[in-house]
């Protein structure tokens, strides 16, 4: 039948070309196919890309004619899209697909013996996570491909210290198909399996190329920071090494309501036991369990001595789930406990206080008004502690938790209900386990810079990196200085970085790896991301202004963000739209997705 996509279509080439310059990745995926059937066929182009990426371009070329994607404001795009839908055409969309990815799909009808080329471009700023930058490329061609290749070129002005390339689908026999080279500032990875190497078995027509292709690397760090300047924009990467760790005071606030019963509770306990193994001796900690009651392990924070850790392990093992969910009182009690410990000077003077709450649902007892809870928590914390919310599963209002965490110098992370949930919890803890600096302030010449991205951070954690970008408005500036002030484990610290603008610009321009004005795009990407994040916790009027600002930048730099859409007009006059899905929408939560089933085992 003509509706079936795989038959008669020969995808003869698929290329993934990645250029990474100073953590900013520019990826182009090109796929070429020909319709070998004697009738017209539908060709599907389906790509999974990281959620953190912004699509910047898409085109398809059919028999020499190129149809380009056009990035528009969401509402304007929607009108064009609705017009197409009202004529009975279907539209392709970008859909959230995995934990880290979203799926971009376009299909087009092409005539017999016709060729089509799809080209998708997306960009992202790679984040440093536990000491490495990571770039994920999802690989899943629909069939065996004559020319399949992944080419990645990395250029890092600081020099690359290590480079790994891993394929979740690559077995030992095929490890040699990944070529990797590393020399000073440049890294190169190439993966070109032949058609025979792609087969799952001899003479099979099925491909083993299905999974994650991951590049991991880190840069050399001769100094705590690195400043780069091109065409009037600068970026400052700050990740000092070999600092003493700041002691941490952490209260784990754990939802033990009835819905946690079963696997979720077991995985939480498993993760907490592993986390207890990693708590450092000069840290202080406590647990506050909550359902409709508030059940602290201890009435105060205790030092992580061997005896206390052993006792805590026993306590964790005894946790049982029952009752409803009182988030408000649990968090208020937590803040009171933390305040008391600080007042009584039980905690080290130079230490970092953190609250980590895990919940799998919305409040069902005590204060139920989510806005009121957010207000109460914000008033209680008063900016003194960081609140991290771990949202376990999908049965809660993510926006509620996200806003609450952002208002209190923290963030929210979804824990996916799966066999590795315990690992996800543990991995989140690892990220925030080692604060190296507190109250980090990055300063640049006031009269010479403008449009700075966020330059104040509550913490710098071991293995992460702080990135600040901005515009240089003083054209006569010869040298550029960045000053960083922060509170360290033993004393207040200051770092200074100075560069000669002309020399830096020249050195970077000489590199053939650089694609255009990447620092300007990196700045735009970071600015849009931060405006969208600020929007979550802003009041109505401010929200509108932040959205307007983010929209203007998204259109100017041609990024598909949650505020813009890309419309592609296909030869049959069908409009296809590419949207960026968001983690959560209020609509989803007013009608939670239900999965009623009949099955057996």
């Amino acid at each position: 039948t003509n509706d079936v996509i795989f038959s008669g279509i020969d995808i003869y080439s698929m290329k993934i070309d990645s250029k990474v310059t100073s953590r900013f990745a520019h990826n182009v995926i090109t796929s070429r196919a020909v319709n070998r059937a004697s009738v017209s066929k539908e060709v599907l182009f389906e790509v999974e890309l990281p959620k953190t990426a912004f699509i910047t371009n898409f085109s398809m070329t059919i028999d020499g004619i190129t149809y380009l994607g056009n990035i528009k404001e969401k509402e304007a795009a929607k009108k064009q899209y609705e017009k197409a839908v009202s004529r009975g055409h279907t539209a392709g969309l970008v859909k959230a697909s995995g934990r880290k990815t979203e799926k971009f799909t376009v299909s087009v009808n092409i005539a017999a013996a016709s060729k089509v080329t799809f080209e998708l471009t997306y960009e992202e700023l790679l984040k440093r996570h536990l000491g490495k930058y990571e770039m994920l490329i999802k690989v899943k061609p629909k069939q065996l491909v004559k020319e399949f290749q992944i080419e990645a070129n990395i250029f890092e002005p600081q020099g690359i210290s290590e480079l790994e390339a891993l394929g979740s689908f690559i077995n030992n026999d095929l490890t040699q198909t990944i070529e990797k080279s590393l020399s000073g500032k440049k890294g190169h990875v190439s993966f070109k399996p032949t058609i025979d190497q792609q087969r799952t078995c001899e003479n099979c027509s099925t491909s083993f190329l299905d999974g994650d292709f991951t590049l991991k690397y880190d840069v050399k760090r001769d100094s705590p920071g690195n400043l780069q300047i091109i065409s009037g924009y600068f970026v400052h990467f700050f990740a000092p090494a070999n600092l003493p760790r700041v002691p941490k005071n952490v209260i784990f606030v754990i939802d033990i309501s009835h819905s946690m019963l079963g696997q979720k509770m077991e995985q939480t306990k498993e993760a907490l036991l592993k986390i207890l193994d990693d708590v450092k001796e000069n840290d202080h900690f406590n647990f506050i369990l909550f359902n409709n009651r508030i059940i602290p392990w201890k009435e105060y924070l205790v030092k992580a001595t061997l005896d206390n850790l052993k006792e805590a392990q026993k306590f964790v093992q005894s946790i049982k789930a029952t009752g409803s969910t009182n988030i408000n009182d649990a968090l208020i009690r937590t803040v009171e406990m933390m305040n008391e410990a600080h007042k009584e000077k039980v905690l080290p003077e130079r230490s970092s206080s953190t609250v980590i709450m895990l919940t799998d649902g919305n409040p069902t007892s005590g204060e139920l008004n989510q806005g009121k809870i957010q207000e109460n928590v914000k008033n209680a914390i008063q900016g003194r502690y960081s609140l991290y919310n771990l949202a376990f599963g999908y049965d809660m209002d993510y926006n509620f938790l996200e806003k609450m965490a952002l208002e209190n110098n923290g963030l929210t992370r979804r824990i996916y209900e799966d066999s590795d949930s315990a690992l996800q919890l543990q991995s989140f803890y690892d990220e925030v386990a080692n604060p190296m600096l507190r109250a980090v302030q990055l300063h640049y010449p006031i009269n010479a810079t403008s449009e700075l991205t966020q330059n104040n951070f509550n913490h710098y954690y071991d293995g992460s990196e702080i990135v600040v970008a901005g515009r240089i408005i003083d054209n006569d500036l010869n040298s550029f200085t960045a000053d960083v002030k922060a509170q360290g484990a033993n004393n207040d610290v200051t770092f200074t970085e100075q560069v000669d603008i002309e020399e830096t610009a020249k050195a970077l321009h000489d590199q053939e790896y650089i694609f255009g004005d990447y620092i300007e795009r990196l700045w735009a990407y970071l600015t849009i991301q931060q405006l969208l994040e600020k929007r979550i916790s802003a009041q109505e009027e401010k929200r509108k202004n932040l959205a307007a600002e983010a929209l203007e930048l998204s259109l100017k730099y041609k990024f598909v963000t949650p505020l813009t859409s890309m419309v592609v007009t296909k030869p049959e006059d069908k409009a296809t739209i590419a949207d960026k899905p968001v983690e959560d929408t209020s609509i989803q939560y007013s009608y939670p997705s239900r999965a009623n089933s009949v099955d057996g085992d």
Partner: protein, 240 residues
Amino acid sequence: PHFLIDVPQKKDHLCFNINLDPGVVLNLVNDPDTGITVNGQLVGKKKVSNNGQTQKTYIGKLGIVNTQLDLKIEITTEKITLQNGRKTATFTWLDTITLQKEGLTMEINREKNLVLSFRDGATFIVVLHRVWKKHPLHQDFLGFYTLDSHKVSEHTHGLLGQFFQHIDFEVFDIRPGSDPEKPHATMIVKNNKLTVTRVSEKDYGKDPSHGTIIPCWFIHNNGTGLIDGAHTDYIVSNLF
């Protein structure tokens, strides 16, 4: 087969078994407004043991009809047959395909599951459970999952369909059962007072290979008191 009902408002699940003989066809979903009907035919073990115990049955064949789209889909453990008007297309579980027609998207994910989405309607997931071919007793069977069930009309009925609208229940007096892992409780649902048991069932909707363990309140005796009418009321004469 095991029925698992998600009750998001209660952050909990209900579950029950329907024990009827192999060959019986049950109405699972019936939405008169959108013209969508789902029926399932039961299969049992290859050999029936004569120990007097109730024989466990599973879904072996599914029939999905959409009268508005003039569409009939028959799903067995061997193949998937799509009939659109006079046109028929047959696929096997070895295929990996995405099929898009006006108002319908069907994805077959080789040997794992089949995802059927009707535009502006619910999404159905059929999971293929493969059993070792030479197993002396067991044979392959199917699982059936519904997502976005709020999109169906309020007139939807059937063994699963009646639960697409919110169902209210209260559980109290939780007490130890004969198995310490499975406490008993009293449940008030649809004005009936029932004794229920806390058990765990597996949801294969998200992870077709391993499934996810879901704790639920088990309603005994073929869901009596929870389902509308008696379980035999849902027996229909054939798959379509």
